[in-house]
């Protein structure tokens, strides 16, 4: 049954047209067809959060969203959000706190954290923990991730942004 559908969407600012089987979910389309390896697949059940991407301005589980459902949508992955600088202070904070080891969860973590910072700029440590409990990490034990996010919230609350330290030779 090859009932491919014609769809088009914007991915990381680039307009994309394709024909695709309805059963293929968004992350498989992004990874296999567009070679955007940032979002990962862990459980394909919506539990682990490794597949988290942004569609029309909000985070979703890419494994629980069909590519055909993204027709006409604005899709953003870690690649695009890094390029735009939207995640710069979070990424720097993650590095400072060693909040990434293997990196498998990191794309999802950063996207989830970014939405928290946007929607709940005054989040407490407890609220940060609750919010990211939808993203599983097998390496870090989570504390460094929470610390990294809390640091960004505190800096932003002061009107500052954590910036990379650039050394000049």
């Amino acid at each position: 049954m090859s009932l491919k559908k014609k769809i088009s969407m914007t991915v990381n600012g680039v307009h994309v047209n394709t024909e695709i089987e309805p059963r293929r979910h968004l992350v498989d389309f992004l990874r296999e067809d567009l070679h955007l390896k940032g979002p990962h697949l862990g459980c394909e059940q919506g539990a682990c959060g490794a597949c988290t991407v942004k569609v029309d301005g909000q985070i979703i589980r890419g494994c629980l969203f069909l590519a055909v459902q993204a027709n006409g949508c604005v899709v953003e992955t870690i690649e695009g959000l890094t390029k735009s600088g939207a995640l710069a202070d979070l990424q720097e904070s993650f590095m400072r706190h060693n909040a990434m080891q293997c990196g498998f969860c990191s794309s999802g973590m950063l996207l989830a954290a970014a939405e928290l910072i946007e929607k709940q700029p005054k989040a407490s440590r407890e609220e940060v923990r609750e919010w990211i409990s939808g993203n599983y990490c097998r390496c870090t034990g989570y504390h460094s991730i929470v610390n990294a996010i809390v640091d960004v919230l505190e800096a932003r609350a002061k009107g500052q942004k954590i910036k990379p330290i650039i050394a000049h030779a």
Binding site: L3, H25, L64, L66, Q69, G134
Partner: protein, 284 residues
């Protein structure tokens, strides 16, 4: 694993969706938020031949006040309920319950109507709809019908929705100024299916509660209202003694069913714990 192949169609008109559903029969499934369905398809626990995407249908959208009721369209997402000013004002129980549903990414897509239509006994919305005395608005080949939430949830994953019908919206009476509410879920981790939960409302005057509704979820095949317990609490000054009596009654009244991690006895115990915390919160 990957879902088996299926066709996909996204009608704009409710009438088209209804005909497609009728034609498809057992081989068609509706998709709205897809947060339950797509996980099911990814595991090949279902292999429909066609998905009917209803997210373009206008009649299913939006939150509004119509007369003395709050109308919530089936397609309203959990996040939209969490963020809605109208909900905060007229059905604050829902705003309190929303953050308990899974996690943010799922709440951004999952829908009010989807949760009600499945009627998962552990879900928050079926219990809340009972507590808030919602009326379900349903469309089928014979037109529109309405049914009270109390008659809607029949058995495990079984609602009064016929296979050829679509839940369009719910109507909820606006909260009165003296209404108090309590929502709590006991779970091992945030976002887990509840071990036991309580969605309660009442009208409060001093330390007297009336028109109480206590709905327990994740303890049986459907959400369960504790009618006898409500009867005991209604209209009487709530003191330590009455609370103890109510806790006793609710444990006898509700026949808990075990699930894979918790025995019926554990759930029965927790039902009493939740009621006690709830009553103390309601009169505080």
């Amino acid at each position: 694993m990957k879902a088996a192949a299926f066709d996909y169609i996204k009608p704009k008109a409710l009438s088209d969706a209804l005909s497609l559903l009728e034609q498809g029969g057992d081989d068609a499934q509706l998709i709205a938020g897809g947060q339950t369905l797509l996980a099911t398809l990814n595991m090949r626990l279902s292999e429909p031949s066609i998905l009917i995407d209803i997210t373009d249908i206008d009649e299913l959208k939006g939150i509004s006040v119509v007369g003395d009721k709050l109308r919530i369209g089936a397609l309203v997402t959990h996040t939209e309920i969490e963020d809605s000013d109208l909900v905060a004002k007229h059905a604050p129980l829902l705003k309190a319950a929303a953050p308990h549903i899974a996690h943010r990414a799922i709440r951004n897509l999952g829908t009010w109507g989807g949760s009600l239509a499945y009627g998962d006994p552990a879900a928050e919305w079926p219990a809340c709809s009972l507590t808030l005395q919602a009326t379900m608005v349903i469309h089928g080949p014979k037109g529109e019908r309405k049914i009270a939430a109390q008659e809607f949830f029949i058995d495990l994953y079984t609602t009064s929705l016929e296979p050829d019908e679509i839940l369009v919206a719910t109507e909820i009476p606006l909260a009165s100024s003296d209404q108090v509410f309590y929502f709590h879920e006991l779970a091992r981790r945030h976002g887990d299916y509840a071990v036991a939960g309580l969605a309660a409302v009442a009208q409060k005057k001093g330390n007297v509660l009336s028109n109480c509704i206590f709905t327990f979820f994740s303890v049986s095949s459907t959400p369960v209202m504790a009618a006898a317990t409500q009867g005991i609490v209604n209209g009487k000054a709530l003191n330590e003694q009455l609370i103890a009596q109510a806790v006793c009654t609710v444990r006898e009244e509700i026949d808990a069913i075990a699930d894979i991690t918790n025995s019926a006895e554990a759930k029965t115990h927790l039902i009493g714990v939740l009621l006690e915390r709830g009553l103390k919160h309601l009169i505080a």
